[in-house]
Protein backbone atom coordinates (compact mmCIF):
# COMPACT_ATOMS: atom_id res chain seq x y z
CA UNK A 1 0.00 0.00 0.00
CA UNK A 2 1.39 3.43 -0.86
CA UNK A 3 1.77 5.73 2.17
CA UNK A 4 -0.92 8.36 1.89
CA UNK A 5 -2.31 10.72 4.47
CA UNK A 6 -5.37 9.19 6.14
CA UNK A 7 -8.50 10.98 7.17
CA UNK A 8 -9.12 10.89 10.95
CA UNK A 9 -10.38 7.44 11.87
CA UNK A 10 -13.60 6.80 13.76
CA UNK A 11 -11.83 6.54 17.15
CA UNK A 12 -10.79 10.19 16.96
CA UNK A 13 -14.38 11.30 17.26
CA UNK A 14 -16.45 11.57 20.42
CA UNK A 15 -18.64 8.49 20.48
CA UNK A 16 -22.27 9.08 19.62
CA UNK A 17 -24.92 6.42 19.98
CA UNK A 18 -25.84 6.91 16.33
CA UNK A 19 -22.49 5.24 15.56
CA UNK A 20 -23.55 2.25 17.63
CA UNK A 21 -26.80 2.10 15.65
CA UNK A 22 -24.82 2.16 12.41
CA UNK A 23 -22.58 -0.70 13.53
CA UNK A 24 -25.64 -2.63 14.73
CA UNK A 25 -27.09 -2.29 11.23
CA UNK A 26 -24.06 -4.10 9.82
CA UNK A 27 -23.98 -6.71 12.59
CA UNK A 28 -27.68 -7.51 12.21
CA UNK A 29 -27.16 -7.63 8.44
CA UNK A 30 -24.45 -10.25 8.87
CA UNK A 31 -26.67 -12.15 11.33
CA UNK A 32 -29.46 -12.11 8.74
CA UNK A 33 -27.10 -13.69 6.21
CA UNK A 34 -26.83 -16.62 8.64
CA UNK A 35 -30.61 -16.54 9.08
CA UNK A 36 -30.93 -16.82 5.29
CA UNK A 37 -28.75 -19.95 5.45
CA UNK A 38 -31.17 -21.30 8.08
CA UNK A 39 -34.22 -20.47 5.96
CA UNK A 40 -32.72 -22.17 2.89
CA UNK A 41 -31.84 -25.25 5.00
CA UNK A 42 -35.46 -25.43 6.20
CA UNK A 43 -36.78 -25.05 2.63
CA UNK A 44 -34.30 -27.72 1.53
CA UNK A 45 -35.51 -30.07 4.28
CA UNK A 46 -39.08 -29.62 3.02
CA UNK A 47 -37.95 -29.99 -0.58
CA UNK A 48 -36.11 -33.23 0.16
CA UNK A 49 -39.34 -34.88 1.25
CA UNK A 50 -41.11 -36.20 4.34
CA UNK A 51 -38.49 -38.78 5.39
CA UNK A 52 -35.64 -36.27 5.45
CA UNK A 53 -37.85 -33.62 7.05
CA UNK A 54 -38.87 -35.91 9.89
CA UNK A 55 -35.21 -36.74 10.48
CA UNK A 56 -34.31 -33.03 10.66
CA UNK A 57 -37.34 -31.96 12.70
CA UNK A 58 -35.87 -32.65 16.18
CA UNK A 59 -33.02 -30.27 15.33
CA UNK A 60 -35.43 -27.62 14.06
CA UNK A 61 -37.46 -27.65 17.27
CA UNK A 62 -34.62 -28.08 19.79
CA UNK A 63 -34.11 -25.19 22.19
CA UNK A 64 -30.84 -23.93 20.62
CA UNK A 65 -32.78 -23.59 17.36
CA UNK A 66 -35.49 -21.66 19.17
CA UNK A 67 -32.87 -19.29 20.57
CA UNK A 68 -31.52 -18.79 17.03
CA UNK A 69 -35.06 -18.03 15.74
CA UNK A 70 -35.39 -15.46 18.52
CA UNK A 71 -32.08 -13.83 17.61
CA UNK A 72 -32.99 -13.87 13.91
CA UNK A 73 -36.27 -12.12 14.72
CA UNK A 74 -34.49 -9.43 16.74
CA UNK A 75 -31.93 -8.94 13.95
CA UNK A 76 -34.64 -8.78 11.27
CA UNK A 77 -36.81 -6.31 13.16
CA UNK A 78 -33.88 -3.98 13.86
CA UNK A 79 -32.40 -4.20 10.35
CA UNK A 80 -35.89 -3.64 8.91
CA UNK A 81 -36.59 -0.51 10.97
CA UNK A 82 -33.12 0.97 10.60
CA UNK A 83 -33.16 0.05 6.90
CA UNK A 84 -36.23 2.27 6.45
CA UNK A 85 -34.28 5.03 8.24
CA UNK A 86 -31.41 4.54 5.79
CA UNK A 87 -33.81 4.69 2.83
CA UNK A 88 -35.17 7.99 4.18
CA UNK A 89 -31.60 9.34 4.34
CA UNK A 90 -30.98 8.11 0.81
CA UNK A 91 -33.79 10.29 -0.54
CA UNK A 92 -32.24 13.18 1.39
CA UNK A 93 -34.51 13.32 4.42
CA UNK A 94 -33.64 13.37 8.12
CA UNK A 95 -29.97 14.29 7.81
CA UNK A 96 -30.08 17.03 10.48
CA UNK A 97 -28.26 15.91 13.60
CA UNK A 98 -31.27 16.36 15.83
CA UNK A 99 -33.55 14.49 13.40
CA UNK A 100 -31.02 11.68 12.92
CA UNK A 101 -30.73 11.21 16.68
CA UNK A 102 -34.50 11.28 17.19
CA UNK A 103 -35.09 8.80 14.38
CA UNK A 104 -32.43 6.58 16.00
CA UNK A 105 -34.42 6.47 19.21
CA UNK A 106 -37.63 5.85 17.29
CA UNK A 107 -36.00 2.92 15.45
CA UNK A 108 -34.71 1.37 18.68
CA UNK A 109 -38.07 1.79 20.46
CA UNK A 110 -40.15 0.43 17.60
CA UNK A 111 -37.71 -2.46 17.11
CA UNK A 112 -37.85 -3.42 20.79
CA UNK A 113 -41.67 -3.38 20.87
CA UNK A 114 -41.99 -5.27 17.56
CA UNK A 115 -39.38 -7.82 18.61
CA UNK A 116 -41.19 -8.42 21.92
CA UNK A 117 -44.49 -8.97 20.10
CA UNK A 118 -42.83 -11.42 17.67
CA UNK A 119 -41.02 -13.25 20.48
CA UNK A 120 -44.32 -13.57 22.33
CA UNK A 121 -45.87 -15.31 19.32
CA UNK A 122 -42.76 -17.47 18.85
CA UNK A 123 -42.88 -18.55 22.50
CA UNK A 124 -46.64 -19.16 22.38
CA UNK A 125 -46.41 -21.32 19.27
CA UNK A 126 -43.23 -22.90 20.51
CA UNK A 127 -42.75 -24.05 16.90
CA UNK A 128 -43.59 -27.49 18.28
CA UNK A 129 -44.90 -30.23 16.02
Amino acid sequence: MPERPLSPHVWHYRWAYTMTLSILHRLTGLALTLALVGLVLWLAAIGLGPARYVAWLPWLTAWPAMVLYGLAIVALVYHFCNGLRHLAWDVGRGYERRTARTSGWVVVSVAIVAALVCLYFLARHGAGP
Binding site: T33, V40, L43, I46, P50, V54, L76, F80
Partner: protein, 128 residues
Protein backbone atom coordinates in the same frame (compact mmCIF):
# COMPACT_ATOMS: atom_id res chain seq x y z
CA UNK B 1 -8.72 20.83 -13.40
CA UNK B 2 -9.99 17.29 -13.39
CA UNK B 3 -8.21 14.14 -12.28
CA UNK B 4 -10.32 11.94 -14.50
CA UNK B 5 -9.04 10.42 -17.71
CA UNK B 6 -10.99 10.85 -20.93
CA UNK B 7 -11.46 7.07 -21.12
CA UNK B 8 -12.83 6.95 -17.57
CA UNK B 9 -15.24 9.74 -18.44
CA UNK B 10 -16.36 7.99 -21.60
CA UNK B 11 -17.02 4.77 -19.65
CA UNK B 12 -18.72 6.69 -16.81
CA UNK B 13 -16.22 5.10 -14.41
CA UNK B 14 -14.94 7.04 -11.42
CA UNK B 15 -12.15 5.99 -9.09
CA UNK B 16 -14.34 3.19 -7.70
CA UNK B 17 -14.35 1.53 -11.16
CA UNK B 18 -18.07 1.36 -11.32
CA UNK B 19 -20.86 3.84 -10.96
CA UNK B 20 -23.58 3.97 -8.36
CA UNK B 21 -24.90 0.59 -9.48
CA UNK B 22 -23.83 -1.30 -6.35
CA UNK B 23 -25.26 1.35 -4.05
CA UNK B 24 -28.51 1.56 -5.99
CA UNK B 25 -29.10 -2.21 -6.21
CA UNK B 26 -28.51 -2.48 -2.45
CA UNK B 27 -31.31 0.08 -1.90
CA UNK B 28 -33.71 -1.34 -4.45
CA UNK B 29 -33.36 -4.92 -3.16
CA UNK B 30 -33.71 -3.60 0.40
CA UNK B 31 -36.90 -1.76 -0.50
CA UNK B 32 -38.36 -4.84 -2.19
CA UNK B 33 -37.39 -6.99 0.78
CA UNK B 34 -39.31 -4.80 3.23
CA UNK B 35 -42.80 -6.16 2.37
CA UNK B 36 -41.44 -9.64 1.62
CA UNK B 37 -39.68 -10.03 4.97
CA UNK B 38 -42.73 -8.71 6.78
CA UNK B 39 -44.82 -11.31 4.96
CA UNK B 40 -42.36 -14.09 5.86
CA UNK B 41 -42.24 -13.11 9.53
CA UNK B 42 -46.03 -12.95 9.88
CA UNK B 43 -46.52 -16.18 7.89
CA UNK B 44 -43.95 -18.18 9.85
CA UNK B 45 -45.16 -16.93 13.21
CA UNK B 46 -48.74 -17.85 12.31
CA UNK B 47 -47.89 -21.34 10.99
CA UNK B 48 -49.96 -23.57 13.28
CA UNK B 49 -47.53 -26.51 13.11
CA UNK B 50 -44.12 -27.20 11.65
CA UNK B 51 -44.71 -30.87 10.75
CA UNK B 52 -44.08 -31.88 7.12
CA UNK B 53 -47.69 -31.60 5.95
CA UNK B 54 -48.25 -28.09 7.36
CA UNK B 55 -44.83 -26.85 6.21
CA UNK B 56 -45.03 -28.22 2.66
CA UNK B 57 -48.66 -27.11 2.32
CA UNK B 58 -47.64 -23.59 3.26
CA UNK B 59 -44.66 -23.54 0.85
CA UNK B 60 -46.80 -24.79 -2.05
CA UNK B 61 -50.03 -22.91 -1.40
CA UNK B 62 -51.25 -20.09 -3.65
CA UNK B 63 -48.57 -17.65 -4.74
CA UNK B 64 -46.30 -18.52 -1.82
CA UNK B 65 -43.76 -20.27 -4.12
CA UNK B 66 -43.36 -16.97 -6.01
CA UNK B 67 -42.97 -14.86 -2.88
CA UNK B 68 -40.60 -17.40 -1.32
CA UNK B 69 -38.42 -17.61 -4.43
CA UNK B 70 -38.36 -13.83 -4.74
CA UNK B 71 -37.48 -13.52 -1.08
CA UNK B 72 -34.61 -15.99 -1.32
CA UNK B 73 -33.23 -14.44 -4.52
CA UNK B 74 -33.48 -10.83 -3.34
CA UNK B 75 -32.14 -11.67 0.15
CA UNK B 76 -29.17 -13.47 -1.35
CA UNK B 77 -28.50 -10.53 -3.69
CA UNK B 78 -28.90 -7.91 -0.93
CA UNK B 79 -26.81 -9.98 1.50
CA UNK B 80 -24.08 -10.52 -1.12
CA UNK B 81 -23.76 -6.76 -1.65
CA UNK B 82 -23.85 -6.03 2.08
CA UNK B 83 -21.26 -8.66 2.99
CA UNK B 84 -19.06 -7.34 0.19
CA UNK B 85 -19.08 -3.84 1.70
CA UNK B 86 -18.23 -5.17 5.16
CA UNK B 87 -15.42 -7.39 3.81
CA UNK B 88 -13.96 -4.51 1.81
CA UNK B 89 -13.93 -2.38 4.96
CA UNK B 90 -12.54 -4.86 7.47
CA UNK B 91 -10.63 -7.62 5.67
CA UNK B 92 -7.20 -6.37 4.70
CA UNK B 93 -4.60 -7.79 2.34
CA UNK B 94 -5.25 -8.68 -1.27
CA UNK B 95 -5.30 -12.46 -0.76
CA UNK B 96 -7.57 -12.53 2.29
CA UNK B 97 -9.92 -9.94 0.82
CA UNK B 98 -10.21 -11.61 -2.59
CA UNK B 99 -10.58 -15.05 -1.00
CA UNK B 100 -13.35 -13.91 1.35
CA UNK B 101 -15.20 -12.11 -1.45
CA UNK B 102 -14.98 -15.17 -3.71
CA UNK B 103 -16.21 -17.45 -0.93
CA UNK B 104 -19.08 -15.06 -0.18
CA UNK B 105 -20.03 -14.97 -3.87
CA UNK B 106 -20.06 -18.77 -4.18
CA UNK B 107 -22.07 -19.22 -0.97
CA UNK B 108 -24.64 -16.62 -2.00
CA UNK B 109 -25.15 -18.09 -5.48
CA UNK B 110 -25.52 -21.51 -3.87
CA UNK B 111 -28.06 -20.15 -1.38
CA UNK B 112 -30.11 -18.47 -4.08
CA UNK B 113 -30.25 -21.51 -6.37
CA UNK B 114 -30.83 -24.06 -3.57
CA UNK B 115 -33.64 -22.01 -2.09
CA UNK B 116 -35.51 -21.73 -5.39
CA UNK B 117 -34.84 -25.39 -6.25
CA UNK B 118 -36.14 -26.52 -2.84
CA UNK B 119 -39.34 -24.51 -3.30
CA UNK B 120 -39.87 -25.94 -6.81
CA UNK B 121 -39.28 -29.51 -5.59
CA UNK B 122 -41.88 -29.03 -2.89
CA UNK B 123 -44.37 -27.58 -5.39
CA UNK B 124 -43.94 -30.38 -7.92
CA UNK B 125 -43.98 -33.16 -5.34
CA UNK B 126 -47.42 -31.95 -4.26
CA UNK B 127 -48.76 -31.99 -0.76
CA UNK B 128 -49.54 -35.45 0.65
Amino acid sequence: MTMRTPLGRVLYHGSAHDGVGHWMVERVTGLALAPLSLWLLVSLLSLPHVDYISASAWVASGWNPVWLSLLVLLSAWHSWLGVQVVVEDYVHGFGAKTGTLLLSTFVHVLLALSGVYAVLRTVFRGVP
